[in-house]
Structures are given as structure tokens and as C-alpha cells.
């Protein structure tokens, strides 16, 4: 069920377009039209960063511009490709699947008249924006234009509060309908200036929440960013904030929003040119644990890649943490120019989604697969960057099982128990007690229950649950056969369900979807039993 929920969370391109239309109250398209009419000239060579489903791309090409459009999402580009074909604009539009951080490497410097972006900069981290802006500056000639249409944070407390009141329900609604959300930009002008642009013109809509900013290359100030653009030093100690995040995550980690660390390069201890480079995802809990494990043992550079707040293993498996994301953060870090070695250490558990050979090929760096657990990193370095068997293998110790149990219980409480408490009061108590008892029992005794996966293990679990239910029922004075039957069906269903859930949570078993077919059969069988037996017995 947790996996089904995660599936639902995944966004499709059509959802994205719908979501953006709601969030911008339908104002986006007219503004894109205006951007093209006022700023794009026929015959221009234009680079579009983050073209998404290609709405603006097609508009620009229709006015006679030659557009090179990039996006990192293959699914979005497929939709864009279709639009290009429908508009018969193939001769004027080139689409590339790539990360925006790679533009300065990929395209010839000074070869574009304009760099355009619609709603892509608000999806980047501050550091990424600065890097991409510097890249865009290099691609433009002396008279090049940079035009961005994006969401901006309103200025002044009054507009800010109005925006908060209007936007919060709108964002929630949009997210529920389409799993799309955005985070408005602020202080883009300063970043533009730093990258060597002068803002010449801006057009506002929705009280400044949507803006077109037009900037020109400043003749004299081509600025190169100096040194390693570090995001600061991370410490292993506890703070109130960290405690709060961890407490929330203990019960509700399955539910978004996932706490995210801003992607970028961070320092742990006092790293120098010879210090090792570690890579991880940007789930805040992951970063906390990693830093706690190595702070004061190892001085290192930490590259936090954008995994959309998802842990390393699931992020890599789900296509969120990829070689492109790692390369993107590596390029921005400028570590290649400042370190005496070319080695990066990736968490072993991201190997299911981060293509090590792609990183080796594009960066020229060597990729090392570090230990599975962050706690083993100091020992890994002491052993000269070599892993013992123990460091390569996943385990699911009691502590981890209890942690996962807490996370599933938090999920059950909100998704199952809350609705039941409101709409079906009578079963709330037995359901809550059974879920809690079964999960706890399962988490503690997982390794002693026979069976290779959640489904096999749920057979003995059903037996134990039924036994528990019978013992409990024996202490009640009046209990009829029908009630006993209902309880038995309920407990059987719950046991199979809890077994499947913990399979999804365990690193030692295949994902729970491996058994979905069988579980559906069990559900249908139980449904039939629940329907037929009372009729046979004449209870209805």
C-alpha cells in the first residue's frame, strides 16, 4: 500500500501542465505569448532552458526563431516532441535531454542571441541558478538577452501575507490533483548581476507573483566564479531543529513533503585540496546521519545531489537520484579545478540507479562505491578505502525494524485510522489495536518467522494472529459464531496486509509489488468467503 501510494505521488507530464495552469490561475500562457511578442525576434538563435512540454518552445519557433530546447525529463520531452511534430516545426526546433548545468560545456560560447526560461529557475537550488546563469552568460554574444518568466516571491509584508493566504490552499489543492508544486524565486536580480547581466525590463502579473525579467549582457563585467562555491560547514551535533525533523520523520517519513537539504557542496570538518569527496542525496535525514557519522573523524567535501528529498536507495531506484544529478552538482562544485585527486565516493546503495560509467566518462573522475551504512565510513577510510564484506551488505537489525514499524504505524494512522475513526467508529479500536500488535510482533520476530518474503511469512503470521484473536475472544462471555467468523476474516486480511507492507520496508526482500498479484487473489478469496459463508450459515 505504501508503494501504491508512492506510485500515486509520481507526476505525469499532463498533470504538470494542469497543475501549472491552476497555480498560475491561467496567466502563464498569455505571459508566454507576451514574452515572445516583446522580446523574441525572428531569425534569432534561442536556447530554452527547461522547456517542459514545449508550450513556449513552439510559440518562439512559430515567430521565426531557431530554438534549441533542453529539459532533463524524458517524459516531458516526449510530449514536447509530439507538439513540435504537430506544428511541423521540426526544422526550427532541436530538443536535447540534458541537465541545465551542462549548457556551457555542451554548446558553443557566444552562439546564441537569447537564453530563455519559463518556470525552470524556480525549480533549481540557489547555487544551481548561479551556475546556470554564468553558463548562459558564456553562451550569449556581446548583445545577448536573457529572458526569464517565473514565479517570484512578492515583496513587502502585506503582499507576502496575502500571497500566503491565497496560495496555501491553492497549492494544496493543486498538489492533491496533480502532485505539482513550485517554490517561487527571490533575489534573482542579484544573481543576474553576479553572473554579468544588467536587468533592463520587467513585466509583472498577479501582483508580482509572476514576472518576466529581461536582462542584457553587461559589457565589462564578465565575472568568473572563484574558488569552491561552498554552501557552508555541516556539523554532527544535535540542534532543536534537527530533533524536530527526526521526530516528524520517525512516524511520517512516508508522507510528503520530504525534508530536503539544499543541494550543493558542503564542508565537513576542515577539508583541503587532498580531502575525499563524498556524494549523497538530499533527504535531510540522510545528510544528518552521514554528517553525524563522520564529523570529527574525517575532513571531507560533501556533494549533496538533488534526489527530491528521497533517500539514496529509493531515490536511485525511482529515477530521482541519477548520474545526471550527480554530475550536475559535481560541475557546480568546481572541485575538478581545486583538488589534487579525482576520486568521488558514492553510496553503494545508489548503484541501482546512478550509472557509475556515465560519471567516469563525463567527469574523468574515478567512482568508488562506498559502504552501505554511513557509520562505516570512518572505518572505510582507515582501511584505505576498501570495504569489508560487512560494509557491502544490507542488514535489517531490530533497531531498523522498529524504526520502519514506527513509520508504517504513522502512515496507517493518517491514511487508514483517521478516516475509519470518522466514518466507521465501531471498528476503530479493534483495528488500531490489531494493526499495532501485528506490526510490533512482526517487526520484532521478522527473522524468526519462516518464509522468504512478506507473502510467505504472512502464512504463519495469519496462524499466530488467529490464535491471538481466539485467546482474546475466549475471555469474553458472549460471543457468537458470526462475530468470531468476522474477526477471523478481518485478522487474516490484516496479517497479509501487514506482511506485504513490511516486505516493502525491508532491504532484504524484493519490493512488495513482486507479490501484488498473489495479494490481490488473497483479497478476492477473503471477499468471497466473507460474502458466501454468512449466506450458507443463514446469518443474513
Amino acid at each position: 500500500m505504501a508503494t501504491a501510494f508512492m506510485r500515486w505521488l509520481e507526476m505525469r507530464p499532463s498533470d504538470y501542465d494542469r497543475g501549472i495552469r491552476i497555480l498560475t490561475l491561467g496567466r502563464l500562457e498569455p505571459l508566454q505569448r507576451r514574452l515572445v511578442d516583446e522580446h523574441i525576434q525572428s531569425g534569432w538563435k534561442v536556447l530554452e532552458i527547461g522547456c517542459g512540454t514545449g508550450g513556449l518552445t513552439v510559440m518562439m519557433a512559430s515567430t521565426g526563431a531557431e530554438v534549441t530546447a533542453i529539459d532533463r525529463s524524458e517524459a516531458m520531452l516526449e510530449v514536447a516532441e509530439q507538439r513540435v511534430q504537430d506544428g511541423e516545426l521540426g526544422s526550427r526546433i532541436k530538443l536535447h535531454q540534458m541537465d541545465a548545468s551542462g549548457i556551457a560545456e555542451k554548446f558553443t560560447h557566444g552562439s546564441f542571441d537569447a537564453v530563455v526560461s519559463s518556470l525552470a529557475f524556480s525549480e533549481m537550488s540557489r547555487q544551481e541558478r548561479q551556475f546556470v546563469l554564468s553558463g548562459a552568460r558564456k553562451l550569449l554574444g556581446e548583445h545577448g538577452s536573457f529572458i526569464v518568466l517565473d514565479e517570484f516571491q512578492p515583496r513587502g509584508w502585506l503582499l507576502k501575507s496575502i500571497s500566503l493566504i491565497v496560495r496555501t490552499p491553492l497549492r494544496l489543492l493543486t498538489w492533491l490533483l496533480t502532485r505539482t508544486t513550485t517554490s517561487p524565486l527571490h533575489r534573482l536580480e542579484q544573481q543576474l548581476k553576479k553572473a554579468g547581466f544588467t536587468t533592463t525590463d520587467s513585466t509583472e502579473s498577479l501582483a508580482g507573483a509572476l514576472k518576466i525579467i529581461h536582462a542584457q549582457v553587461s559589457i565589462d563585467t564578465e565575472q568568473e566564479l572563484q574558488g569552491i562555491p561552498t554552501m557552508g560547514r555541516l556539523h554532527g551535533g544535535w540542534t532543536l531543529r534537527k530533533l524536530g525533523v527526526e521526530a516528524w520523520a520517525l512516524f511520517f517519513r512516508i508522507l510528503p513533503p520530504y525534508p530536503q537539504k539544499e543541494p550543493g557542496v558542503y564542508e565537513i570538518g576542515e577539508p583541503g585540496p587532498e580531502s575525499p569527496v563524498l556524494v549523497t542525496g538530499n533527504y535531510t535525514l540522510t545528510v544528518h546521519r552521514l554528517v553525524r557519522a563522520i564529523d570529527s573523524h574525517v575532513d571531507a567535501w560533501l556533494l549533496v545531489a538533488d534526489s527530491e528529498g528521497i533517500n539514496v536507495w529509493c531515490g536511485a531506484g525511482g529515477g530521482f537520484l541519477t548520474a545526471e544529478r550527480v554530475l550536475s552538482i559535481w560541475r557546480m562544485s568546481a572541485l575538478d579545478d581545486h583538488l589534487t585527486h579525482k576520486d568521488m565516493i558514492l553510496p553503494q546503495l545508489c548503484a541501482n540507479g546512478v550509472d557509475g560509467w556515465k560519471i567516469r566518462k563525463e567527469s574523468g573522475w574515478e567512482v568508488h562505491w562506498g559502504p552501505v551504512r554511513a557509520e562505516d565510513i570512518p572505518a572505510y577510510f582507515r582501511a584505505g578505502m576498501s570495504k569489508s564484506d560487512d560494509m557491502r551488505l544490507v542488514s535489517f537489525p531490530l533497531w531498523g525494524r522498529l524504526e520502519m514499524m514506527a513509520a508504517t504505524l504513522g502512515f496507517y494512522a493518517l491514511i487508514i485510522l483517521l478516516p475509519v475513526a470518522i466514518f466507521w467508529r465501531s471498528v476503530f479500536e479493534p483495528l488500531a489495536v490489531s494493526l499495532f500488535a501485528l506490526s510490533t510482533f512482526y517487526a520484532i520476530s521478522l527473522h524468526s518467522i519462516p518464509g522468504r518474503d512478506g507473502l510467505q511469512k504472512s502464512v504463519p503470521l495469519v496462524g499466530i494472529a488467529l490464535l491471538g484473536m481466539l485467546v482474546y475472544s475466549a475471555f469474553q462471555d458472549t460471543i457468537g459464531a458470526q462475530q468470531l467468523f468476522n474477526r477471523a476474516v478481518g485478522m487474516t486480511a490484516l496479517s497479509v496486509f501487514v506482511g506485504a507492507e513490511l516486505q516493502g520496508m525491508s532491504p532484504e526482500m524484493r519490493g512488495e509489488q513482486a507479490n501484488w498479484g498473489w495479494e490481490a487473489l488473497v483479497a478476492v478469496f477473503l471477499g468471497l468467503v466473507y460474502w458466501i459463508v454468512p449466506n450458507l450459515m443463514g446469518w443474513r
Binding site: 536507495w313 531506484g317 553503494q348 546503495l349 548503484a351 541501482n352 540507479g353 550509472d355 557509475g356 560509467w357 562505491w369 552501505v372 570495504k387 564484506d389 557491502r392 551488505l393 544490507v394 522468504r452 532491504p507 532484504e508 526482500m509 524484493r510 519490493g511 513482486a514
Partner: protein, 57 residues
């Protein structure tokens, strides 16, 4: 599914497998898929094998 004849001994699969499915054969300089029963089908070896010698089925 492991196409052993394509193995060139990069040992990436052994490095990244979190459940110990791969056994290095020191003398031959290759690997053996030894524990299909513990495989969790995470796909790490499939992605990291430089010879594309591994398939998930």
C-alpha cells in the same frame, strides 16, 4: 540471467551487490552468480556491469 561468457572481471557487480549474490573467482578473474535465492532484484549489478552481461528476468 548472467551471460558468464561476457564477463571481463570488472567486479562492479560484486562491489555493488547489497545481498552477496556474486562470488569472485580469483583464478579465472571473473565472477559467478551464486545465490539466486537471496537476490532482491535491485538492479544495481545490471546497471554497473560494463559488459551488459546481466539481465533482470
Amino acid at each position: 540471467m548472467f551471460h558468464a561468457e561476457r564477463c571481463t572481471g570488472a567486479m562492479e557487480c560484486y562491489e555493488v551487490c547489497p545481498v552477496d549474490c556474486w562470488k569472485p573467482d580469483e583464478s579465472a578473474g571473473t565472477v559467478e552468480f551464486q545465490k539466486a535465492v537471496v537476490c532482491i532484484a535491485c538492479g544495481a549489478c545490471v546497471l554497473q556491469c560494463p559488459e551488459e552481461a546481466i539481465e533482470l528476468r
